[in-house]
């Protein structure tokens, strides 16, 4: 019975299949919002599903010089990393499927696994566009990862725990966006960097380097990378909204808060133009990291004085 329940948890709900479906729905919302902001009609509601189905049905071409194990293994690893991270996050406002002290760090590491896989995939296919794309992907990873982690640390410090579930319960009566606005902004922009949305889409800038690290991927591999991207979107949205927007305690609050965050993110996507990769790194290290560090210092002093 126990194995059966955990299998259901892993494969269907809340991880696995339902997460993929919700991720695609959010991807559609994002695309539709961007289209409306650009005065377009936008894609139909089943567009991401149709894209994924079509990609799964297509031929997967393997370039002659790649390492086949890496080429076929990396998309699976990316998707698996994103889906495993989902186990520790209060998805859809329900309590996480699994929880232990310190799972915040594990989740953040698992969330950077898809990005690592994209980088490795670009290096493995060794086309000129994929190589440049992979370099940019990894550079951006080093740029946003530290500020994002620091921004996630703020709520953890206040709640006095490294466990996502405990922090989520703590934030339900503390709206941390009011006391830590800097952390919220850095976390939101860090999420945009993680998902390589504009203005941080230098790694896959289609006007410069075709499709970045994934240029040589077709069919199933590409579909898996795309799905892991939308799963990451869901996890990131639920992390940020549970930490900063007064916690998640049910499906209505999850839908409302994460869709509000998505609205803000798509407005930013439409408003801002693409940054060069050095501008991206400079933005993170010169402003993001230092602001969050200053806020952390203030919080530590405050806690020390209050005690």
């Amino acid at each position: 019975m126990n194995t059966f329940t955990s299998l259901i948890t892993l494969l269907i709900f809340p991880a696995g299949l339902s997460l993929v479906l919700v991720g695609m729905f959010y991807e559609w919302v994002d695309r539709k919002l961007v289209a409306r902001f650009q005065n377009r009609v936008g894609p139909r509601w089943f567009q991401p599903f149709a894209d994924a189905l079509k990609l799964f049905a297509k031929e997967q071409i393997r370039p002659a010089i790649v390492n086949p194990y890496l080429f076929f293994g990396l998309p699976v690893a990316a998707l698996a990393g994103a889906l495993t991270a989902a186990l520790y996050v209060p998805l859809m406002g329900l309590s996480p499927a699994s929880s232990f002290p310190g799972d915040l760090i594990v989740t953040i590491y698992l969330l950077s696994l898809p990005t690592m896989c994209v980088g490795l995939a670009g290096w493995n296919t060794s086309g000129r566009f994929s190589l440049i794309g992979a370099t940019r992907t990894l550079t951006q990873l080093f740029a946003y990862e530290a500020p994002f982690l620091l921004a996630m640390l703020g709520p953890a410090l206040v709640a006095g725990s490294w466990q996502i579930n405990t922090i989520n319960r703590f934030t339900q009566d503390h709206w941390l966006i009011l006391t830590q606005p800097v952390g919220f902004i850095v976390a939101l922009i860090g999420l945009m960097g993680k998902l390589e949305l504009p203005p941080f889409d230098a790694p896959e800038a289609e006007t410069e380097i075709v499709a970045g690290a994934l240029t040589e991927y077709s069919g199933r591999g590409l579909a898996m990378f795309k799905i892991s991207r939308s799963v990451e979107l869901i996890i990131g949205l639920s992390l940020v909204s549970s930490f900063y927007l007064g916690g998640l305690n049910g499906i209505p609050s999850f839908l409302f808060k994460s869709l509000a965050l998505l609205l803000v993110m798509s407005v930013l996507q439409v408003l801002l133009t693409r940054l060069r990769i050095d501008q991206t790194v400079g933005l993170w290290w010169r402003f993001g990291a230092i602001l969050v560090l200053a806020q952390l210092l203030v919080m530590i002093l405050w806690k020390g004085l209050a005690l």
Partner: protein, 148 residues
Amino acid sequence: MNSIWAVHFNSGSCNGCDIEILATLTPRYDVERFGIKLQGSPRHADVLIVTGPVTRQARERLIRTYEQMPEPKFVISVGSCSISGGVFEGCYNCVGSVDAVIPVDVFIPGCPPRPEAIIDGIVQLLTELKGGKARTPQKQNIAEEIST
């Protein structure tokens, strides 16, 4: 098929058709509502949109781009020149029409065709696919043909 990802190839066009294709992708005509997206990489694409007569220089590149696309793949040739060679017919540097080089599924005439015509051509391709009249993939060995 509700999701068509296209890659655009200029095989020697005068840029008239290319500008009409760009106009098709602008917010005014918004082809994303049909699921049509322009992709940079032929590996991601389902449809190859070719404009212009095929020049001797572009012939090998056109074939290579076509071969790089994963099956099932379709070709749309846009504009009079890509159908018959147009005003460039018989030029010393032209091979001629696109279907002399790679198999073509939909021809869109016009010099240049309006964006409405291009969208109509893609919709015709879609309805033909839905009706099950899809062309069986002709796996001719074009790569061998280049080397000769």
